[in-house]
């Protein structure tokens, strides 16, 4: 038994650390501010981080293949602006939503193809994607457009009550992230595609020599990330009921930081989405502690996330070294 536990701990160390840190941070928050002990505060994390969670899940796959996707926040802005503008022109919301998702997939697919076929660094290509998406969002509308659509309002304002917890609720859009998480857990651990993603991240060359479809998988990963960011954009526009090109500034950084805090190595091949979930939740917890405090300003969030990233990188390199030696 002990023989099996040790490798498990070493292999999943960073992720387990993320879980432990989340619990610790949350407990500290609960001790400092007794109101944080209410279950609703916990579920608020899911409400507040709905979009971040979705993009981080897509980002995890990209980072596992040793890539990076900087275009996610731009895609959120573009999706929100485009859907607001389409809805303002009277398009059916059930047409708008799938259309946005298709747009995200096409966008990610294009970026992935450029990365794969022209052999350019993902950093540069997705940076172009960020510029393009934000620019297009501003081309669509230079100021924030409100969404007055009945379906969007219904989705935004309907509370879903959590069983076993009295008075605790989330909104419909905040359920998208957890559901997507389940799908992605299945994808990454139980399908051929998931294994290929890890193989590419560990060593692209050997993956290719083993006959794995490297190019196809890489493009799919970016298309999936594009899909996730479009989904996050739809969720964003539902929760804010408006669309604007300047939304979600710097969210790509938050997503990358969450993924890294969740134990995924930027060198590829190591990590999983469960860790990412906790990375996102840690981010959300820091924000809510700051909100409970009230006197600390928002810039402490950034400093806090930065310091946490630093700590996690230290932990990761420790585990990484252990693994190398064992």
């Amino acid at each position: 038994m002990a023989q099996r536990i040790k490798p498990f701990l070493v292999n999943n160390g960073p992720m387990l650390t993320a879980i432990v840190v989340f619990i610790l941070v949350y407990m500290v928050g609960g001790l400092l501010y007794p109101n944080m002990q209410k279950p609703q505060v916990f579920f608020n994390l899911f409400i507040n981080t709905a979009s971040l969670m979705i993009v981080s899940i897509g980002m995890t796959f990209v980072i596992i293949t040793k890539g990076i996707d900087l275009s996610v926040a731009g895609m959120i802005a573009l999706t929100s602006a485009a859907s607001a503008s389409l809805l303002a022109h009277g398009t059916n919301p059930f047409v708008v939503m799938p259309l946005m998702l298709v747009m995200g997939i096409v966008f990610g697919f294009t970026l992935g193809s450029i990365i794969h076929f022209l052999k350019v660094e993902p950093f540069v290509v997705t940076l172009m994607g960020l510029f393009f998406a934000r620019g297009m969002a501003y081309v669509i509308t230079l100021e924030a457009l409100p969404i007055n659509d009945a379906v969007y309002r219904f989705l935004a304002l309907t509370k879903v009550h959590i069983p076993f917890f009295e008075k605790a609720y989330v909104y419909i859009p905040s359920l998208v992230g957890p559901i997507l998480l389940l799908v992605v857990i299945y994808l990454s651990f139980f399908t051929r595609f998931g294994r290929t993603v890890y193989a590419i991240g560990n060593n692209e060359q050997s993956a290719r020599l083993m006959g794995l479809p490297v190019g196809r998988t890489k493009i799919i990963v970016y298309a999936f990330s594009g899909f996730c960011s479009a989904l996050a954009g739809v969720v964003w526009s539902i929760s804010l009921l408006s669309g604007y090109g300047g939304y979600a500034p710097g969210m790509e950084l938050d997503a990358i930081a969450s993924v890294v805090i969740g134990g995924t190595l930027l060198t590829g091949g190591v990590g999983n989405v469960i860790g990412t979930l906790f990375g996102v939740l840690i981010n959300g917890t820091i924000v809510s502690i700051l909100q409970f405090n009230g006197t600390l300003s928002s810039w402490w969030t950034r400093i806090g996330v930065g310091v946490l990233t630093l700590i996690f990188i230290g932990v990761q390199s420790l585990f990484y070294m252990r693994k190398k030696h064992s």
Binding site: F132, G135, S297, W299, G306, L310
Partner: protein, 359 residues
């Protein structure tokens, strides 16, 4: 004829060839579509006009690009330059603040064209703050053995928070006129910022081309391990490039805050890390490290700003400009890809062989 061909070929294989072609194309578009673009006049004893604007506006980016080139040449990347710019700007604004150390703070004191701190000290503090940030990055990368992208990501995320911490979350407006000299001043009719760039470029050029540091940097970027085994202190080289990059970003912060007359933790140097990387990539330095060229990166920065000002003259709104910039990147990516290179080579080779048969 043969000499001519080899000259053409040599020029084509030069690192500066593609960036200059790109710059020429943009300028050509200007010449055709915006006739007034090249007009340069003299007003109040200094030059003005779009071209002067291009140089003046691109000065901070050029500085950051110079630092970034060295970092990228070692196979790393520095994502924190935008945040370092904000920190340096915040540092300057806080020290200039005439209310500093003053118990009675009134609007009258705050908006006074005066300061209690000597200008030299302010500049020094700016540069020191940036260099310290660079030192931090360098230590994480060289001693902590953290991947550069992650190591600098920390400061990128936390840095803007630190900048706001310094200014206490305020957007600080600067009223002290001598400070504006760096961003708005002119010497002999030419913007001061350009002199600063030239000076830093000269230092960097002497360092990397007249001493062995440049060779070491390229060696580290090509193969860090073998560099270490050949007895070069790979760690110190890495430390040096990050410190230098921080230093360059600090000067950029000084110029930028002096140009916009304020320090804003959220917006000073926004997207500069991305633009600087873009400038370096446009300049043809590979992101995986190795050979680099400072001058092409400077030209890369120039291309970005020529393009931006061109778009302004065409009347594109500033925010929508991002999409145009994306198209620029796409063109660059396609031009630099292996396909395009092979295609161009084939075209040129065929021409060459035709000349050969003609002779």
């Amino acid at each position: 004829m043969k000499e001519n061909k080899s000259l053409l070929k040599r020029f084509r294989e030069n690192r500066l060839f593609w960036p200059l072609v790109a710059l020429a194309l943009i300028l050509l578009a200007d010449a055709i579509f915006a006739p007034g673009f090249f007009k340069i006049g003299i007003l109040d004893g200094h030059l003005y006009g779009n071209l002067v604007d291009v140089f003046n506006n691109s000065a901070p980016l050029m500085l950051v690009a110079i630092g970034m080139t060295l970092v990228i040449a070692t196979g790393g990347v520095d994502l924190s330059v935008g945040a370092v710019i904000a920190i340096s700007a915040a540092m300057g604004a806080v020290l200039i603040n005439p209310a500093l150390g003053n118990r009675l703070i009134s609007n009258e004191i705050l908006t006074k064209d005066a300061t209690n701190t000597p200008l030299g000290l302010i500049v020094l503090a700016d540069l020191a703050a940036g260099t310290l940030c660079g030192l931090w990055n360098g230590f994480l990368v060289s001693r902590g053995k953290i991947q550069p992208m992650v190591a600098t990501l920390i400061l990128m995320v936390a840095g803007r928070g630190i900048a706001q911490l310094i200014t206490n979350g305020q957007i600080m407006t600067i009223y002290y006129t001598p400070y504006f000299f760096f961003g708005n001043g002119f010497i002999l009719g030419i913007p001061v910022a350009i002199y600063i760039v030239a000076f830093v470029y000269l230092i960097a050029w002497v360092l990397v081309r007249k001493t062995s540091i440049g060779l070491f940097i390229e060696a580290v970027g090509t193969n860090a391990k073998s560099t270490y085994y050949s007895g070069i202190s790979e760690k110190n080289i890495k430390l040096f490039v990050y410190v230098f990059c921080g230093f360059c970003a600090a000067i950029a912060g000084l110029i930028l805050s002096s140009y916009v007359h304020s320090a804003d933790g959220n917006n000073n140097g926004l997207n500069y890390e991305l633009d600087a990387i873009l400038a370096v990539v446009i300049g043809g330095t590979l992101m995986r490290g190795g050979r680099f060229s400072l001058l092409s990166s400077v030209v890369g920065a120039l291309i970005i700003w020529t393009f931006t000002i061109t778009m302004y003259t065409f009347g594109v709104p500033a925010n929508a400009l991002l999409a145009g910039r994306a198209v620029l990147v796409l063109v660059v990516i396609i031009l630099y890809s292996d396909y395009a290179r092979r295609f161009m080579n084939r075209v040129f080779e065929r021409k060459g062989s035709q000349h050969g048969t003609a002779n």
